[in-house]
């Protein structure tokens, strides 16, 4: 295995730029992706939050990077500096991204991507200056270990397949979540649940009654209620700071929504003096800005004052989860309407008004929705295992400890 510098295996290494902000011609109605370092870190980047115009591309020295360019974050004192991504479409970037166009005759870009991922700390250490920025020269001269091309491909495939499966699971989860939401909205917001004849209730002329508390019409026989009618709620409380540790002593402790992942929180801290507990499977709700974000507890854990734990009184979580997602839309509206909505108090949370459907309908909903949630949970757990496997294999594949044979 030989060591080569990045510039020896690349066609181009350069950084992007930011077209003059004050010039509307560069920005207005732009359609060319323009990536900033804050996006870097995940494997593939398909699109950007901001776009520049064709005019900007033609009238500034900014370059359009071809597909499969590697992009390394050069600035950022936090975690950003040193992160790397693959730009999956023709994309421009700002000056903080170092863009590496790999020469496909010399190296395989996916391999180089995985290699650079193992070099996060080394890349960060190249930094210079007060603000600890990297510069593109250091990156050009950065050396990587390069096996034969065929081996590069084999190594990359092992890792890529794992990442692809994670991505696929995320897609499946997104579909499942959207499906559960569609069903909930149709049945409980629009009131088109199956009536006695299996027909949509409201559309088939089911009787609606105006409810004064909810200020809207609801199906006859349904009632108004508050959140604490359908859920057991535990407000979090932070144990004393001296009980925190990161060494795994005591109970898992989640402080707030900063620990949240896509479905399950990431374990960062433990406490030896757990105060308020959430049980395995409970819904975790962020009660401080941003209010309303949801996760699920995957083990019995201690929750801090940024969280509340909710469990449905009748077991299973599918109905309560959808109800909480519905509330989240309300919280989001409030957050965005400019009114500062820093936190929700115990009283406000317990007394959130909701419509309590007929029990049979909820039961029927759960029969459909519970398996959806079960599958989402299985996929999320699988993703954690897959990521663990990938992160365990990655350095060993790169330093040759583990080889791919036939």
């Amino acid at each position: 295995m030989n060591r080569v510098s990045l510039k020896d295996i690349s066609k181009i290494i350069n950084s992007g730029l930011t077209p003059l902000r004050s010039n509307d011609q560069f920005w207005l109605n732009g359609n060319i992706p323009w990536v900033k370092t804050e996006q870097l870190g995940k494997k593939y980047i398909y699109d950007s939050n901001e776009k520049i115009t064709k005019f900007a591309l033609e009238n500034t020295s900014i370059k359009l990077n071809p597909r499969n360019t590697l992009s390394v974050a050069m600035y950022g004192e936090g975690k950003t500096r040193g992160s790397v991504s693959i730009l999956k479409n023709e994309t421009t970037t700002n000056q903080a991204c170092c863009n590496i166009v790999i020469d496909e005759n010399k190296a395989y870009y996916e391999y180089v991507y995985y290699y650079l991922k193992t070099q996060y700390d080394n890349l960060r250490n190249l930094s210079s200056g007060v603000r600890k920025n990297l510069n593109s020269n250091d990156i050009k001269n950065f050396e990587i270990v390069l096996p034969k091309f065929s081996i590069q491909k084999q190594i990359a495939k092992v890792l890529s397949d794992l990442d692809a499966k994670i991505e696929l699971n995320n897609k499946i989860n997104a579909q499942l979540e959207a499906m559960a939401k569609t069903l909930y909205d149709y049945w409980f917001v629009q009131f088109e649940f199956p009536d006695v004849n299996g027909k949509p209730y409201k559309a088939s002329g089911g009787k609606m009654v105006f409810n004064k508390t909810l200020k809207r019409e609801i199906p006859e026989g349904w009632e108004d209620g508050v959140l604490s009618d359908i859920a057991d709620i535990t407000m979090g409380q932070s144990p004393s700071g001296s009980s925190y540790n990161e060494e795994g002593i005591g109970t898992v402790f989640y402080q707030g929504s900063t620990d949240f992942g896509s479905r399950f929180p990431t374990v960062r801290k433990y406490t030896t003096e757990p105060s308020r507990m959430a049980e395995k499977g409970d819904i975790l709700l962020s009660v401080r800005a941003p209010v309303g974000t949801l996760n699920q507890a995957m083990e019995s854990c201690c929750i801090g004052r940024g969280l509340a734990a909710l469990s449905e009184k009748e077991g299973s979580i599918s109905f309560l989860w959808s109800q909480m997602e519905y509330f989240k839309q309300i919280f989001d509206r409030r957050n965005s309407s400019g009114t500062t909505f820093g936190s929700i108090t115990k009283n406000d949370l317990f007394s959130l008004k909701l419509c309590i459907p007929n029990k049979e309908v909820v039961k029927a909903f759960k029969i459909i929705a519970d398996p959806i949630h079960d599958k989402i949970i299985v996929n999320s757990k699988q993703n954690q295992k897959l990521a663990e496997l990938r992160d365990w294999l990655l350095p060993m594949l790169m330093n040759g400890q583990v080889t791919v044979g036939k």
Partner: protein, 542 residues
Amino acid sequence: MTATIQFETKTKALIDDLKSVCANYGLGNDGNEFKIITQVFLYKFLNDKYVYELKQKEPALAKAEDFDKALDKYSEEDLEMLTMQISANTAYIAPKNFLSRLFQEQNEPNFSEIFDQTLLNVAKDNTDIFSVLTQGGEKVVLFENLSKYVTDNKDAFCKAIVNKLVGFSFEHIFTQKFDFFATIFEYLIKDYNTNSGGKYAEYFTPHAVSKIMAACLVPSGTEVSNATCYDPSAGSGTLLMNLAHAIGEDKCTIYSQDISQKSSALLRLNLILNNLVHSIQNIIQGNTILSPYHKQDDGQLEQFDFIVSNPPFKLDFSDYSADLDSKANKERFFAGIPNIPKSKKDSMAIYLLFIQHIMHTLSAKGKAAIVVPTGFITAQSGIDKKIRQKLVESKMLAGVVSMPSNIFATTGTNVSILFLDKTNTENVVLIDASNLGEKVKEGKNQKTVLTEAEEQQIIDVFASKEAKDDFSVVVSYEDIAAKNYSLSAGQYFEVKIEYVDITPKEFTEKMQGFETNLHDLFAESKQLEKEIQDNLKGLRYE
């Protein structure tokens, strides 16, 4: 209309001329420039007003080709008789103190002495009605010795000033209305109304704010008579002028107190311009919080029918904060006196004392409008919350209007207007106007400007107590107590989620879409699972 614009242009030109004379004699940006400009302008105004009134009473004088000569024919007794017919609100100018006389004497040696003496004479002749009182009992008369502010060429300076003054007669502007004088006043003081490093900033309250305050306190069509109007931190008096105009200048008496000398002088000028001379004797220069001046016969603080105020928000009052903790103040400052912070003494929340002072000095049927920092209406603890609690429990609220940010170009603090009304036992209207207005640049600062339609919208919604989506709510005192005494409209808005109903067919199609997608994804997933398992089988550990 065109006449108004013409007068406005000419008056502004005169002000510009006076300022340029000051600049030519080295007074530009001098702290004394505003004293000269405002006093000279006032002398001109009073002079022309007296002449105007004389001509009204004596048509012969109005018709005379040469007014001065015609007047010379009148004996002292005749003139006295004439002057007595003129309202006491017009300052008396003895003929020897006329501007025209000054103009004739401009080439005399030591003209500056004549000039000073003339103004001092006018001040002396009008001490009774036109003086502002300090809390120490000093009378601040209309004019002072002005030429002392110029070091060299005093005569030439006074001559230049007089020559500018005679150019344009004010006689025709006295029929103009409130808006005209408001514009002129603003123009006159605009250069002297800045926070030039001082701790006490006499910010000019923006038009939109003062207009909304007056219009919500006195909705059009309300009949008020003999009302007392008060501002405990009057500044140059914009709020009081707007209020007095809404009530009718002849139907109210104005009272004020302000610690700043400059403010009191400007306020007097404002009163004179706006036909409120009868109130000058109620203008007090002094510290409202420490030594409130206006008292009843029994020593209790005077109570007023209308109070408007844009008090300073933050000010270091640590020097006298201990003195406030007296038995007499227990009731006035019921919610407490802000503590002295260890550092940042200049950010002591003095507005909390002003709000309490206003609540204390409001009559049984009184109404008030106070500019407060928006933080006040939601603060969860401390004096702020105690005050709100009292407002709700004693049912003395009318409503709150939260203004857009940067409505004051000079401060970034968001402001709301707090409306009190001791007679309102019913519902309270809360308005969130923070999304209105257009942002414009004013100098270095960003400023938000409301259109006239937007101002009217706020005024109308306030008057009709109307609930409008995401703009206003009407709530009961009980509702407010239940919401932790929050006065922020946003916290009472019904949050509506836009939801579009779908047809059974659309629902079925959507679910089928999920089904197909999932079918494909599950198949792909199986394939990948196999690949991964094969990959793992091929790994060798060395």
